[in-house]
């Protein structure tokens, strides 16, 4: 218990003193996860929306698959991306293994199904309300996707934030493809794992505190966005 108190005091000291190493790790984490979420959103939202409005054989199976992919085990994603990017893999020539780019790719694979599946639900609900009206105006099924995405933007933000929560907290995939190299690919989660195993609890705890703070901020932002939507647009 005394250990914990001492580590916590040290951790708070690290955060408040603006420790360069600590903040470099935090910034890299944010850079990797925000990039991954941005890319995943650009792919996942239109994909989910298209799946919500299009009607084709096998659609239901694809929805089940997408929902299942939301629970992809990060280590398995890490392993697959590792094999793709390793020298012997099909993307080996890109020499991306053990770089932040590799970590972004792994997180995109993890997060994209979450954003696509949640977007599909949001858009499908909205489409039930809008479809007759939009068709009456003359908008085609696929042509309605931008309208549905725009009008569902506040609810879609929840999908994006859920994806961000998954990305920033994930350790299994980034440690495999990033390698946890100091000053290069060391992010919050991988550092916590490493430093805990080394007994350096202060740094691990400081990062853990920041991670929890980010999680709370993301949640607060989600409900604030929902509240704004209800207030402004009676969504």
């Amino acid at each position: 218990m005394q250990d914990f108190a001492a580590s916590l005091a040290h951790a708070i000291g690290l955060i408040l003193s603006g420790d360069a190493e600590l903040w470099a790790i935090v910034l890299l984490s944010l850079r990797v996860s925000l990039s991954a979420v941005l890319i995943a959103a650009v792919i996942g939202m239109p994909l989910g929306a298209a799946l919500a409005v299009a009607r084709f054989p096998g659609r239901q199976a694809l929805i089940v698959l997408l929902n299942a992919l939301m629970g992809l085990p990060p280590v398995v994603v890490g392993l697959v991306v590792y094999m793709m990017l390793s020298n012997a893999g099909p993307l080996g020539v890109l020499q991306l293994l053990y770089t932040p780019a590799a970590m972004i790719i792994a997180q995109v694979v993890l997060v994209m199904p979450i954003i696509a599946a949640l977007s599909r639900q949001v858009v499908e609900t909205l489409d039930r309300e809008y479809s007759e009206q939009l068709r009456s105006i003359g908008v085609s099924r696929l042509g309605s996707v931008p309208t549905l995405l725009w009008d569902g933007r506040f609810n879609l933000l929840t999908a994006v934030l859920a994806g961000f929560g998954r990305a920033i907290a994930e350790v299994g995939a980034v440690i495999i493809v990033g390698g946890n190299i100091n000053h290069v690919t060391r992010v919050m989660t991988t550092t916590i794992a490493l430093e805990t195993s080394k007994g350096n609890l202060a740094l691990a705890l400081a990062l853990g505190t920041i991670l929890i703070f980010i999680a709370i901020t993301v949640n607060a932002a989600t409900s604030a966005a929902g509240g704004t939507a209800r207030r402004l647009f009676h969504a």
Binding site: E129, Y130, E132, Q133, R135, S136, I137, G138, V139, T147, D151, G152, A229, L232, F233, H234, A235
Partner: protein, 256 residues
């Protein structure tokens, strides 16, 4: 400018005729759902210039019929033609519909109007003036920036109606647009509909309100059990409904 010409009846009543898309004809139209025949209309032609009011008891198929005519529902059999031609994209774009409950986009009042004008290819430079005119027409001038979904029931339906009129439709389908409105709000909606009809838009409207059918309509289409039992000028329908069901309906008996 739209191509408007005066038909024979139009010349009499001073109503310009939508030239391109009338008459609307349905041949061998059938729609079945869950083993029940919802619509069975072997031969229907709507050519009257003034508003056509679709009357009938609940479950008669009124809402389904206008959805079929507007192309929102595909029939199991039969076909619909506009002035003898299959309805193409361009013809569909010359139609609009207002639903019982207005479906308003999660945008501002003006945002809802801009959306339709943009879809109809109205250049950006003209849109603002058009939106201003439409808002004035719907008596919503002070509410442009407000969220469309915060409007009252009557205002929301007026917005839905001016939005439908934004593309200057030749045919306007209305599915009981005033059924949940009070008399004051209903009156304003009716005034908008009457004005659109005078300006040359063909109105095809489902209503439960006999008084409304009398006030707005020129022709009555009486539907019962998915069949058109009567198609008569308003002036003839109310004093002399031909079918027994229509007689009972006009007399205020419950048709079950």
């Amino acid at each position: 400018m739209r191509d408007l010409r005066l038909s024979h009846s139009g010349a009499v009543t001073g109503v310009p005729t939508p030239a391109r898309d009338l008459p609307i004809s349905a041949r061998g139209l059938r729609l079945q759902r869950g083993g029940k025949l919802l619509i069975d209309v072997p031969d229907l032609t709507i050519e009257t210039v003034g508003p056509t009011m679709i009357l009938g008891p609940n479950g008669a198929g009124k809402s389904v019929l206008i959805r079929l005519l507007h192309g929102l529902v595909e029939p199991d059999a039969g076909q619909i033609t506009l002035a003898g031609r299959d309805p193409d994209r361009a013809a569909r774009a010359r139609q609009a519909m207002v639903f019982q409950r207005p479906v308003l986009l999660r945008r501002s009042v003006t945002g809802n109007l801009h959306y339709v004008l943009r879809f109809h290819g109205v250049p950006r430079s003209e849109r603002r003036a058009r939106v201003r005119d439409l808002l004035a027409r719907g008596d919503l001038s002070g509410k442009g920036r407000q969220s469309a979904r915060s409007l009252s029931g009557g205002e929301g339906q007026r917005l839905a109606l001016i939005r439908a009129l934004a593309g200057a439709p030749e045919i306007l389908f209305l599915d009981e647009p005033t059924s949940s409105l009070d008399p004051g709000a209903t009156q304003r909606i009716e005034a908008l509909i009457a004005r659109a009809a005078r300006a040359g838009t063909k109105v095809i409207m489902v209503t439960h309100d006999l008084g409304q059918a009398r006030r707005l309509g020129e022709e009555i289409l009486f539907l019962n059990g998915g069949r058109v039992e009567e198609q008569t000028p308003v002036a003839d329908f109310f004093p002399r409904p031909r079918s027994a069901a229509a007689r009972a309906f006009v007399d205020g008996h419950l048709l079950v």
